[in-house]
């Protein structure tokens, strides 16, 4: 028999294997992952088609479809991360995990890994379908697309860290936050409109939201052909700050759950 190797990588891959088994166990789940982004794409594809006839400037260069797909990467990454964590609560498996040598940050890495995979499963088919059906290829953006995508995913994970912290501390009663919280930042993310559209006081808030820089940057690239690195730098910096805040929240919730004996009870 092989000798145990107590490396973090092995534990992270072990837990990732658990989520892959879970994903594999149900084909409707796999279809569902791709279903919602595709539906979004179809609806916004037709909106774009309509605008291109009446107000072509609103839908130029596939900006609406690109915005839909990129915004969805935030929502998918967040939901995939949080749903995988919820699986541990629903199956009352959390205590088994935390009596193993698994560190909380390793759990976070496993959740982030499965989240990335599920996000790609969800977004890539929709992005490919947009090419023949609506003549829009987000892949034409090239390397900046990866930067926009990663920023949205990071922001999604930051939200997930806060939500899973709340779930670990307050239990399944807080489950609905999973669906609600990402939309809190949607109006100030300026997904479909420029930041200047917002009233001044909301623009000040948007300036603190990483996603607003991503969508401004994306519009600049698609409409003016200009890659604004300063916007990307702002988005990355803010996302790193959010991740740090999210991690701190999760660890504080975890310590509080250990103090209050919630790790054995959660899910019941």
């Amino acid at each position: 028999m092989s000798i145990p190797d107590h490396s973090s990588l092995r534990r992270i891959s072990g837990l990732l294997l658990r989520y892959l088994y879970l994903l594999r166990s149900s084909w409707p789940r796999i279809i569902e992952i791709a279903y919602w982004p595709t539906m979004q794409l179809i609806i916004w594809g037709f909106v774009t088609k309509y605008f291109s006839d009446v107000r072509p400037e609103l839908s130029a260069a596939g900006v609406l479809i690109s915005a839909v797909l990129i915004w969805d990467s935030l929502f998918r990454s967040h939901v995939s991360y949080t749903l995988s964590f919820l699986e541990e609560l629903w199956s009352r498996n959390l205590a088994n995990l935390f009596v193993s040598p698994l560190r909380p940050w390793e759990l976070i890495c496993s959740l982030a890994s499965i989240s990335m995979l599920r996000t790609l499963i969800g977004i890539i088919p929709a992005a490919i379908l947009a090419i023949p059906f609506f003549g829009v290829s987000v892949f034409d953006m090239g390397f900046p697309l990866l930067a926009f995508f990663m920023n949205l995913v990071l922001c999604g994970w930051a939200i997930s860290l806060v939500v899973t912290g709340i779930l670990i501390r307050y239990g399944l009663g807080a489950e609905s936050l999973t669906w609600v919280l990402p939309f809190l930042i949607a109006p100030v993310s300026c997904i479909y409109y420029p930041v200047e559209t917002l009233p001044q006081w909301l623009q000040s808030i948007a300036a603190c939201i990483s996603t607003s820089y991503v969508f401004e940057g994306m519009r600049s690239l698609l409409l003016q052909g200009e890659l604004k690195l300063d916007l990307l730098a702002w988005a990355f910096s803010l996302n790193l700050l959010y991740i740090a805040i999210g991690f701190t929240c999760f660890m504080a919730a975890f310590r509080s759950a250990r103090r209050h004996g919630l790790l054995l009870q959660v899910g019941e």
Binding site: R10, S91, F98, V99, L102, R258, L264
Partner: protein, 246 residues
């Protein structure tokens, strides 16, 4: 006997309620020890603190000679736990569950680990069945198999033979006993099955209101309390007809 678990003045308070009260206990290497007590006596709280699921309000825990409160992870790699009140993922098959936990405990080659556990716990017939399709007795066996995935030096068990038929329960008790003897492993178990405790344990710790109130071998306790069964001793302790351990 070399101590594997040692607690000093271990205390847990929840909102002013004392669940475990300055508990001093030593569990020696290679022993099978029972933690007994009525509801609210502090058994689950004590086990949870010894597993790192619950942080103590005050006091010290030493496991394998190391400070468990300050750094629990190296000890956790050599420990394991099973409880009928903690589930494994129901949507995964038995094989998948064991593979995942083999990896979590550091094994790269997981198939030999699964084969060993399947053989030891007689899981072969339902290895590829999802957990939710199993009977409660089969689930208990899988949960016990998971607890042996890393061949632990210290095993904490909560009601280890709950839901098992008498024959399987007897087989599990024999397995636990021989495992401890062969590997000098240590078991601390919480149980309400007094017959199981008499058959399996050489040392019994009796808790009441978070305090250790009696300790000894089953035979020793029967003699001291002048009782014929451990259940009567348990009832005497639960009703407060005893002295506290100094």
């Amino acid at each position: 006997m070399e101590p594997v678990i040692e607690t000093r003045k271990l205390t847990k308070r929840y909102d002013g309620v004392v669940a475990v009260d300055e508990l001093d206990l030593i569990v020696g290497k290679g022993s099978v020890t029972a933690l007994l007590g009525g509801n609210g006596a502090g058994k689950t709280t004590t086990l949870s603190m010894l597993l790192g699921l619950l942080s103590p309000t005050s006091g010290e825990i030493s496991i394998f000679g190391e400070d468990f409160v300050a750094n629990r992870f190296s000890a956790l790699a050599r420990m394991n736990f099973s409880s009928p009140y903690v589930d494994l993922p129901q949507r995964l098959t038995v094989r998948e569950n064991l593979k995942v936990y083999a990896k979590l405990y550091g094994f790269g080659e997981v198939n030999p680990v699964v084969d060993r556990l399947a053989q030891e716990f007689d899981l072969t017939d339902f290895l590829d069945r999802r957990l939710r399709r199993l009977s409660s007795g089969q689930k208990t066996r899988v949960s016990l198999a998971k607890a042996f995935v890393n061949e632990p030096d210290l095993l904490l068990l909560d009601e280890p033979t709950a839901s098992l038929d008498p024959e399987t329960a007897s087989w599990i008790r024999d397995f636990l006993k021989s495992y401890c003897e062969e590997r000098s492993a240590t078991i601390l178990l919480a149980s309400h099955d007094m017959r199981e405790v008499e058959l399996l344990c050489e040392d019994v710790l009796l808790l009441r209101r978070g305090k250790l109130v009696e300790r000894g071998s089953p035979a020793d306790l029967l003699r001291r309390f002048g009782r014929k069964t451990l259940e009567d001793v348990f009832l005497d302790v639960a009703r407060g007809q005893h002295g506290e351990v100094a």
